[in-house]
Symmetry: C2
Subunit: 394 residues, 2 copies
Amino acid sequence: MAGIREPFLPVPGFSWLGKNIGIKDESPDFAVALAEVPCPAAAVFTRNNFPGAPVVVGREHLADGQLQAIVVNSKNANTATGAGGIADARRSCELLAASLDIAPGLVLPSSTGVIGVPLPMAILEAACRDAAPGLAPTREGLEAFARAIMTTDTRPKGISIEVGGATITGVAKGSGMIEPQMATMLAYFFTDAEIARQDLQEMLGRVVNHSFNRISVDTDTSTSDTVVVMANGLAGAVNAGKLEQALMEAATYLAKEIARDGEGATKLIELKVCEAPGAEAALAIAKAIINSPLVKTAIYGADPNWGRFVMAVGKVFDHPVPLEGLRIEFGPEDAGLGISASDQADGTLDRIADYLRSSEIEIRVRLGQGDFEQTVWGCDLTEGYVKINAEYTT
Amino acid sequence: MAGIREPFLPVPGFSWLGKNIGIKDESPDFAVALAEVPCPAAAVFTRNNFPGAPVVVGREHLADGQLQAIVVNSKNANTATGAGGIADARRSCELLAASLDIAPGLVLPSSTGVIGVPLPMAILEAACRDAAPGLAPTREGLEAFARAIMTTDTRPKGISIEVGGATITGVAKGSGMIEPQMATMLAYFFTDAEIARQDLQEMLGRVVNHSFNRISVDTDTSTSDTVVVMANGLAGAVNAGKLEQALMEAATYLAKEIARDGEGATKLIELKVCEAPGAEAALAIAKAIINSPLVKTAIYGADPNWGRFVMAVGKVFDHPVPLEGLRIEFGPEDAGLGISASDQADGTLDRIADYLRSSEIEIRVRLGQGDFEQTVWGCDLTEGYVKINAEYTT
């Protein structure tokens, strides 16, 4: 695999902008990405039954597998806003397309923020009309894009990977309303690799299923979640397997960054359920643990309360596990730090407590039942999560 | 329906004790209830796949539908403790039975507290041996029992209801690891009504399904949950319908008290999902909302963020709801305080914010699809929940 180069490497043939237009306050809230040419593109959207208006319009515009631009606003999700919201999303695409001299159907809109409040269209319209001159094919432009899509994120998230002669750069946002039922935040990938649109869609589906669909911050599935990839083809074809590997690596990196930056989080948790009788059982148990508020608060408090893992494994009624085979391990495999009903060496709880003070926590739950394993990522639950969400107001 | 009389009315033919024996600290941690005669009894236990040792032993002892005594300790759940834990639970029953001069199979054991730590049997054995003289058929004895079963509860919970010439008194504990998949805490009902054991079991099943199974604090299903009813028959037969109504009323009262006293909670939430196309859809949507951390934190912060209700309704993928018919109402029905995508009168958000400052929140979610409705209860999510559970240590 090619090395990870840096967070925000611009990809030839793309330009970006990100800035404040005053939707809510003075933080950046408006972003545009533009490709020089229409690109094969693929996307995965939220499964929430009330998708935001931009998701509805984005699905339409992606129907032909082509995109040339993306327009994003943060601070307002344009969701549960009815026919007016759909019209607003279309209008943004039309105005941006006119400014860029492209077809409106080549623009994908995204909005993220509060639900149920109409977009302030006067300022959005002006921003779309004036977008063209601000676009830059630079690191600064890309990073500004990544900053402008943030909501409660504490930092912009980006990753660039070389693959053959091409580059993949991904940027993402999302730190609350995150549950891996499907892509659960905004993530945009830009590459100059050449790839057919159908291959790109299938590749993205596989990648999302093993990256963004494996993270959880708070079990809530957003109405706006979108993962998009645009491939402008300027670098020519690259090995498809290597491209998928690079996309998987970039997506996994960003997914973990989203979990690490979960609202109020102080720790990234990587949880592997192994020795499961099947993949479905492994994933169901992994999700029960990573979503358990009692497990999450114990990890926050560095409390070696392994009984809470037992409880979480046991509440997956459809997949009973014999207690005799259940073992919870903390830290790298060679650390040998584990606990079970029949093996609780002196000092183990103290060693687990010490380990849980790290900012990156690795846990393996062995079921003793088979060979299947699944990995998921999450974060601890802190007073910060409550504070952010009790105060994140309309 | 007979009136609710008071929290802790002793029932003729029962006696109780509750005291500290030093399992963890100086708070009460040991409780016994005794009936004068063997009683028809019924119970509902946790569905968690790792039930505590007392649940395993309790199921055996209940197999013949008879009980005469209950022994409870708090501060330690005797769960994930293997064969030794089962032996400890049996030993407690034997010693208590010897002290009371009854058969060990007439004793139901319960333990609640930390998981995965062996019981301190030396002090429990002494307490069981010495139990008989401490029992009292009084209000004080009953209230001491209710206090000794508490863990993170902030107050004892009890309710007494007259039915015909009989009395039902229920006491309960439980404020974390609460999710209504099945009885999810400890609750004990004592009555002097006469009723056949089979009728009692069926009645309890129906009652639990509409009371304790409808509350949620944190989506986690405890390994120790137990609801027991003992009917000593001293008051003779009463109308079965009225008895069930009284038991339902008592159970619903205690279920709401558990939600109200949820860990860190400042508000009781009563949520009704109505106009649903079926009972299952109504309940699935109600649970998605009452369990949503974003809804719970918004209510804590009195944030009129109705979009989070939309999100939670929409994440029940199997039961899509048209946005046009969805309406969220706050407060009593005659207050007329509602919001929807097409109806957002000026000042509505401010009025909702004002209402959300109450300590008891009533919410109706109308789906506009049919005639089914379901009610569930929960509580807000606060920094206090995180604090309690990050610090509640082994």
